[in-house]
């Protein structure tokens, strides 16, 4: 493998930005066809700026859940960004002021393009080019999708309500490669489905997720190194 150059890192970052930015179309369309306004859809992309959380917020609203449940789900899903930050900090070596500015760009892709670099210069190049590239295209494509979602009419005609499930499955897919991942996801799905008829909309998501995490913690088998006391 050849050593990456500044140029190759920037090219890779732009490529990732274009690919990821395009999902914004599906987010925008799903958001407005779930009942959000165009401004609300665009505000989510501008200010929340972490895809899975945005899809989750919209999904809860679409399912008839409260906005607070939506926010709780979004923030819980956003917790992984905190761990990305921990991995990034020693590689980016940012000052306090720079951290506040850079934090908004901490997402799956900018992290992936930075943590594998061996020098600070390359880590920063990967992080900022990917972060700013995705941010720009994600927001542009959200606007396009949001306008499209509003003008299309009944979203069910186009299967847009079904697109949400497919989008979530796409986000979950990489984590289904282990048996543990598959079992935890199925527990979450099973508990949530069982609760649909008996709880308020939105609650099955939080409770199903919590039960799945709890049971996942009790599962010791994949941690042979230490005695797992959950």
């Amino acid at each position: 493998m050849t050593e990456p150059t500044d140029r190759s890192i920037i090219t890779d970052s732009v490529g990732v930005s274009v690919a990821v930015g395009l999902y914004g179309v599906s987010f925008g369309a799903i958001a407005t066809s779930s009942g959000l306004s165009i401004v609300q859809a665009c505000t989510l992309s501008l200010l929340v700026f972490t895809g899975a959380s945005q899809f989750a917020f919209v999904g809860v609203i679409a399912a008839g859940g409260s906005a607070l449940t939506g926010a709780l789900t979004a923030v819980l899903l956003g917790s992984r960004n905190m761990f990305y930050g921990i991995a990034l900090a020693p590689r980016l070596e940012l000052s306090r002021g720079q951290r506040a500015a850079a934090a908004h760009l901490v997402i799956d892709e900018s992290t992936a393009m930075a943590v594998t670099r061996t020098t600070r210069r390359h880590a920063r190049l990967g992080f900022f080019w990917t972060g700013l590239g995705v941010f720009t295209l994600w927001n542009l494509s959200t606007l396009i999708g949001a306008v499209a979602g509003k003008t299309l009419g009944d979203p069910r005609t186009y299967g847009l309500d079904a697109a949400v499930g497919a989008a979530f499955l796409g986000l979950l897919w990489p984590r289904l490669q282990t048996r543990m991942g598959r079992v935890v996801a199925l527990i979450g799905a099973g508990v949530a489905t069982g609760l649909i008829p008996v709880t308020a909309a939105g609650a099955p998501i939080i409770i199903g997720g919590a039960v799945a995490v709890g049971l996942g913690l009790l599962w010791h088998t994949d941690t042979p190194s230490e005695g797992a006391e959950a």
């Binding site: 395009l22 999902y23 599906s26 609300q40 505000t43 989510l44 200010l47 929340v48 972490t50 899975a52 999904g59 609203i61 399912a63 409260s66 906005a67 607070l68 926010a71 789900t73 979004a74 923030v75 899903l77 956003g78 905190m82 990305y84 930050g85 921990i86 900090a89 020693p90 306090r96 951290r99 934090a103 186009y158 299967g159 079904a162 697109a163 499930g165 497919a166 989008a167 979530f168 499955l169 979950l172 984590r175 991942g181 935890v184 996801a185 979450g188 799905a189 949530a192 649909i196 008829p197 308020a200 099955p204 998501i205 199903g208 997720g209 799945a212 995490v213 913690l217 230490e226 959950a230």
Partner: protein
């Protein structure tokens, strides 16, 4: 509609706080084994629950309709390594087609 705005602001504040915290705290504070496992499991459990609600719920009723078919199509496409956006579009189109028939 203002409840939605409150939710948007809370989501934005919460998500930003998490990002900034990660960049700012000393590494050892957040890399406790249990914390790491919980953070690893949260997206899996939550996304599993989200998919189920998205596919089966109609208000507080369980409904089996074209959405389940679309999810099966999405599963097949992901297994074939079809990228995210075309996968979502074809899955949605398959639901639209089922409803048309």
């Amino acid at each position: 509609m203002s409840a939605v705005w409150v939710g948007i602001v809370l989501s934005a504040a919460g998500c930003f706080a998490l990002k900034l915290t990660g960049l700012s705290v000393p590494e050892r504070v957040l890399t406790h084994r249990l914390t790491l496992r919980v953070s690893d499991l949260i997206p899996v459990g939550l996304l599993g629950a989200l998919i189920a609600v998205q596919v089966f719920a109609d208000g507080t009723q369980i409904v089996v309709d074209a959405r389940l078919f679309a999810l099966a199509v999405a599963t097949g496409l992901l297994a074939l390594r079809v990228p995210f956006l075309p996968m979502v579009i074809v899955s949605a189109a398959s639901a639209a087609l089922v409803r048309l028939l």
